[in-house]
């Protein structure tokens, strides 16, 4: 059984065909990149996979389970966590709390447990806090545990957001433009981080990225979208030579006078 299987996924927004006939199969352990010009539908693909939008057609199977009709938190609970293109941390909660609350799905206690401080509550809180502490340490953020995310440097906010996704112990990690807005130094750190996370957490990673330096150096497989359609897939080397991809990014080589 494959980790993630997407069959003929299509999504319309009114008359706009945002994603058309998208197919994908991840067996687990891959590091896949999704690229494409602006507005190609990359983030829509992520929004569909994470359950934020419902596909107009086609199906998404996560470990053989159809995610149709599941709400986003349930899809996340199945074992796939994501980050956002524009950082979406909870800014009035501390860095530590950010890493705790993201484990909400696995809390397993309710209102009365918090009021009565039951055994389930104590155990669960302890487990959640331990996971958060460990993540803070491995990501080198321990120093900022009590800080608010908005006070962190940009690169660390990204790191924290990735950490927040990892706190769910996902099998599949979706990263939406992790390098967006980063300076070259931060980009190098990020490349290191992605490689390290993959090794350390044994997680399958699927990322959207504009930054070619990141995509070409990190990804093993790349898929290219344009106007919602898949126009190419393969290894970075193959993608670099793919005619349709070059066309989509740079336009036609032929002069246009005969058009």
């Amino acid at each position: 059984m494959s980790l993630l299987e997407i069959r003929n996924m299509t999504r319309f927004f009114g008359g706009l065909r945002a994603v058309y006939d998208f197919n994908l199969r991840l067996e687990g352990g891959e590091l896949l990149g999704l690229i494409g010009p602006n507005g190609a539908g990359k983030t829509t693909v992520f929004n569909l996979v994470s359950g934020f939008y419902e596909p107009s057609d086609g199906e998404i199977l996560f470990e053989g389970k159809n995610t149709a009709g599941l709400r986003p938190h349930q899809v996340t609970g199945l074992g796939m966590a994501r980050t956002f293109q524009n950082i979406r941390l909870w800014n009035s909660l501390t860095v530590f709390d950010n890493l705790c609350i993201s484990q909400h799905y696995h809390l397993g206690y309710g209102l009365w447990d918090t009021v009565l401080k039951t055994h389930a509550y104590r155990q669960s809180e302890q487990r959640v806090k331990k996971t958060a502490d460990r993540l803070l340490e491995t990501l080198g953020l321990s120093h900022y545990a009590r800080e608010y995310p908005k006070n962190l440097p940009y690169g660390l906010q990204r790191r924290l957001e990735i950490g927040r996704a990892l706190s769910l112990q996902p099998k599949l990690l979706l990263l939406d433009e992790p390098a967006a807005g980063m300076n070259p130094g931060e980009v190098e750190d990020l490349i290191e981080l992605i490689r390290w996370i993959r090794k350390e957490f044994k997680v399958t990673i699927w990322l959207i990225e504009h930054h070619m330096r990141v995509v070409m150096s990190v990804c093993e497989q790349i898929k290219v979208l344009d106007f919602g359609e898949t126009i190419g897939e393969g290894t970075p080397e193959q993608i670099k030579k793919n005619r349709r991809v070059i066309q989509a990014y740079l336009g036609d080589e032929e002069p246009i006078h005969d058009a």
């Binding site: 705790c100 993201s102 696995h106 447990d113």
Partner: protein, 341 residues
């Protein structure tokens, strides 16, 4: 053992107040003021859960209060007293002393169910639009009660004093004060535990970024349901107490005017601050009482206070902070932020 100190301090305060009331050291007027302070603390802290911690804007808190007030009052009059409406008591009046907390909680449950009227729309809408829904719910409740003639309609409902008296006969204690103090303690404890647990902090995540919360595995619909029902349920309990302190209720008490009063308390104390809500409930109840000679002009002075507050300190006295953040020494007595790890 820090939190034991705050609990035992509160216990001591309760015992002192009850003893003072019992020994006639404080007169009936002061007792009533203390009970109103207690009721207002329940109202403001429970509304803060929605307006402060969850960041929605509810302006219909008095509606839930009315539901609780009427359910508890009707049950108590029906069960424990002989009245023109319901005839002789269904149960012996002496059982009131044991069953009063049950009817009080039933009032809370009823109010929590009416809270669904706001909670369910909140799945799809938020901000200004949800505020209008809460306003509508406030009016629905008030107008419904006005049109149920069996419970007095617009004329109001009375007879709760008899229940309080029969409780007093079985056990000579100032029961209304006792239950106000117990419920204030229970409310603060519940909300404090809730907003300091990872579970309850889910509503703060909803306030900060609802989409991120949902995608990061927080069941946002469930959290909204829990928050709205808890908040309106506590308001219902406050309403039940209010009815038994006054001995008479009418729908006209539970209008937007009353909701506004609670709103002012929340914003005066500071959004998302439990101690702020408690302090401002105490302060505002006292101020309103001092302004009583002003009569209607009171409703010029209080809104004026609100305007000044919004101009000069829009976050309230303790916006998103607790008393112990401002005065760290207080941590010896209570710790709103639970020690982490």
């Amino acid at each position: 053992m820090r939190r034991f100190t705050s609990v035992s301090l509160y216990g001591l305060l309760c015992v002192l107040l009850i003893a003072a009331a019992q020994g006639q050291w404080i007169d009936a007027y002061v007792q009533i003021i203390i009970m109103f302070i207690g009721i207002n603390i329940i109202l403001s802290t429970s509304l803060n859960l929605i307006n402060g911690y969850m960041g929605e804007f509810s302006v219909g808190h008095a509606g839930f209060m009315a539901v609780g007030a009427y359910i508890t009052s009707v049950l108590n009059v029906w069960f424990f007293t002989s009245s023109k409406v319901f005839g002789p008591p269904l149960l012996t009046p002496s059982s009131a002393v044991y069953l009063f907390p049950v009817t009080l909680l039933l009032g809370g449950v009823g109010a929590a169910l009416v809270g669904l009227l706001v909670a369910v729309p909140s799945f799809r809408t938020r901000g200004d639009y949800l505020a209008i829904i809460t306003l509508a719910v406030n009016y629905i409740v008030k107008s419904s009660i006005e049109n149920i003639q069996a419970i007095g309609g617009a004329r109001g409902f009375m007879g709760m004093q008899n229940t309080v008296n029969s409780m007093k006969e079985s056990w000579n204690l100032p029961w209304a004060l006792v239950w106000v103090l117990v419920m204030v303690g229970a409310t603060i404890w519940t909300i404090y535990r809730f907003v300091n647990s990872t579970y309850g902090k889910g509503i703060i995540a909803v306030r900060d970024d609802e989409i991120a919360a949902e995608i990061m595995s927080v069941d946002t619909q469930r959290m909204k349901l829990v928050a709205f029902m808890l908040s309106s349920g506590l308001a219902g309990i406050a309403g039940g107490l209010f009815a038994h302190v006054l001995g008479y209720i009418n729908p006209g008490t539970f209008t937007i005017m009353k909701s506004t009063e609670v709103l002012v308390m929340v914003y005066l104390g500071g959004m998302g601050s439990l101690s702020g809500s408690v302090l401002s409930a105490i302060a505002l109840t006292l101020v309103l009482e001092l302004f009583r000679p002003l009569q209607v002009a009171k409703w010029v002075v209080v809104p004026l206070l609100l305007i000044l507050l919004m101009l000069f300190r829009p976050e309230g006295f303790l916006g998103h902070r607790e008393l112990s953040d401002v005065f760290p020494r207080l941590r010896r007595w209570f710790s709103p932020q639970e020690r982490q790890s």
